[in-house]
């Protein structure tokens, strides 16, 4: 059984890679790009949420916000460790950008990212107050759930395992957000504020799924780094959002 096959064919047929040495050059580049998008988004998300801790109306919410801030940084660290096995200087990497930096609230970034900072565009926008932070966390939390389900199938096994370990904890973050949101919509004023926040965040979170018919998707799919097209993932998120927020009178 020493017969082998081209690594590209192996990947296209659903094969799994297990060490940096297995990875062909282009695969490596795309994998690194996916990992830094995740690391930068988690770090920016954590940094953005840190300020919300002091906006929390009560101890329960304060604990939830602290936990989300802490665990998102931890998730970034776990994926950065995988990047380290490919040669990334992890110490320098985490200090490359100001993770708390944000653009103006009314800026329009579309799906664009800042030079060198690979966070998803949604993490460039500032949070405004507690309700805004909670709504963003629920909307993006549901999106993260959809995206992590996809990423947990990635063909680089050590990374897929990290994503599988992270996924339930990220799902808990969305749940914590939902618990906070249920308290907010208990009043009409709260519901109106939440609706305004949702109207702001919905298109911005939608943009994190990327464009439909993406050419990069084909490359990634061939490598087994992606399995479901952007537009299908977007559809899943929209369904999850409607199912979660509908009962709260939000749309």
């Amino acid at each position: 059984m020493t017969d082998t096959m081209a690594i590209e064919d192996y990947l296209a047929q659903g094969g799994v890679l297990t060490a940096p040495d297995n990875a062909p050059a282009r695969y490596r580049g795309e994998l690194m790009r996916m990992m830094s998008t995740f690391v930068d988004s988690e770090l920016a998300g954590s940094a953005g949420f840190a300020a919300s801790i002091n906006l929390a109306p009560g101890i329960k919410e304060r604990i939830a916000a602290s936990r989300i801030t802490l665990e998102k940084a931890d998730h970034a660290e776990r994926v950065l460790e995988v990047m380290g096995s490919f040669g990334t200087d992890t110490g320098r990497y985490q200090s490359q950008h100001d993770w708390a930096a944000r653009v103006a609230r009314d800026a329009d970034l579309g799906t664009a990212r800042g030079a060198g900072d690979m966070r998803l565009s949604v993490f460039h926008y500032p949070l405004q107050g507690w309700t805004d932070a909670v709504v963003m966390n629920v909307a993006m939390g549901l999106a993260t759930g959809v995206q992590l389900a996809e990423l947990s199938r990635v063909s680089y096994a050590p990374l897929a395992e990290v994503f599988r370990a992270i996924a339930p904890r990220e799902a808990r973050h969305a749940e914590l957000g939902l618990e906070g949101l249920q308290r907010i919509v208990a009043t009409d004023a709260g519901r109106a504020e939440a609706q305004a926040a949702l109207t702001y965040w919905q298109p911005r979170v939608a943009a994190t799924f990327g464009v439909a018919g993406s050419a990069r998707y084909d490359t990634l799919a061939r490598f087994g780094l992606r399995h479901t097209p952007n537009e299908s993932l977007l559809g899943r998120w929209q369904a999850a959002l409607a199912e979660t927020l509908g009962p709260l009178g939000l749309k």
């Binding site: 059984m1 040495d21 062909p24 050059a25 690194m32 990047m83 990334t88």
Partner: protein, 358 residues
């Protein structure tokens, strides 16, 4: 960053005609670094005629054996494995990085699990480490190994496996599948493919009893086994893979660097290959990185930090020369082999050929 440490070869045992087993001892101050988890591998480096080669070999010892041991099977045309099989001797020093790899499941002393392992050829090496460790640390668990080889004489660790079978009656069993030698049972002759897997599950293995599976072997075998395990109800999350490094070339190719005189002030004609597509364009010598020039030429090169830290934009210079402003990600041997970080590189020559596909 990776660090190499000296290991002394204290014993060298010839395992088969073309495989050796090395026992290695770290220096006292490095002992803790070389504590390993079952199923991990060591990466060695050695200079061959001025060219550094790095090769990874799995540890074959169990975690309770108190030794560091690796198996190295000679690959046709493989510089490192041939050297290890023919020239290496006790007393010599090898340089290795501390153990790495995730080919294991956590040990639970109370567990009563049924593990299934598949090894193809030298893919047995990490599995032997896993089997020994599980049998010793999980007294309630059992392990079934399906082990594929060409012929009896090429079976690595045949005696070790027999010993284990005798010592752990009822907890460990081996099914040898031989490609070229007929056995009493037809099922055990040939290759492990989809058909053979189905037959194994029909007659020998109860798929529903399996808690976790380990597979280490060449690509086609991994695909066939993984697909069959999935068909028999074992989810991907309970299958652990280790692809042995068949993709590693025997010898690093010599880089083609033309030492042209640098024409001052002029621009550069760059030729860039990405995803099999090659494009040529002119770019300035200063003020624009190769990455930015590539992106400006509508090539979708991967990048992330743009600061010389993450190595996402690693490319290889095939012709001409570049200068890197900052490099925190590539190691010296990679730079010597012609790799560069596109985000930090500017051309020094009037002609430059770069690929992102190597």
């Amino acid at each position: 960053m990776s660090r190499f440490h000296p290991l002394t070869v204290t014993e060298l045992r010839r395992e088969t005609r073309d495989a050796v087993v090395l026992t290695l001892v770290p220096r006292d101050q490095d002992r803790a670094l070389f504590d390993f988890t079952q199923g991990q591998y060591l990466t060695f480096r050695r200079d061959f005629d001025g060219e550094e080669l790095r090769r990874s070999y799995s540890i074959c010892a169990g975690t309770d054996e108190g030794v560091l041991r690796v198996g190295i099977k000679r690959v046709d045309g493989g510089a490192f494995s041939t050297w290890a099989n023919e020239a290496l001797a006790p007393g010599m020093i090898l340089e290795a990085m501390p153990p790495m790899g995730k080919f294991f499941t956590p040990i639970e002393p109370e567990a009563e699990k049924h593990y299934l392992g598949f090894a193809g050829g030298s893919g047995i090496t990490p599995l032997l480490s896993i089997i020994k460790t599980i049998l010793s640390r999980e007294p309630g668990s059992r392990f079934t190994l399906v082990y594929a080889n060409r012929q009896i004489s090429s079976i690595m660790f045949r005696e070790d496996l027999e010993d284990l079978k005798n010592r752990c009656m009822g907890r460990f069993s081996v099914i040898h599948v031989l490609e070229q030698e007929g056995q009493e049972i037809d099922l055990f002759t040939g290759r492990i493919d989809a058909e053979k897997m189905t037959a194994l599950f029909q007659h020998w293995l109860d798929a529903s009893s399996i808690d976790a599976a380990f597979i280490c072997g060449p690509e086609p075998m991994m695909l066939a086994i993984a697909a069959s395990l999935r068909d028999h109800g074992l989810p991907e999350t309970r299958i652990k893979f280790e692809l042995f490094a068949s993709g590693q070339p025997g010898r690093a190719r010599q880089k083609a660097v033309s030492r042209q005189a640098v024409a001052p002030g002029a621009g550069t004609q760059a030729t860039v290959t990405l995803d099999g597509v090659t494009r040529s364009f002119a770019m300035p010598r200063e003020g624009q990185s190769i990455l930015d020039a590539v992106i400006a030429a509508d090539l979708d090169a991967p990048y992330s930090c743009k600061a010389g830290v993450c190595s996402t934009c690693r490319c290889k210079v095939l012709e001409g020369e570049v200068e890197m402003a900052v490099n925190h990600a590539l190691e010296d041997y990679e730079v010597r082999a012609g790799y560069a970080l596109a985000c930090q590189s500017t051309p020094l020559t009037d002609r430059l050929v770069v690929t992102f596909d190597e």
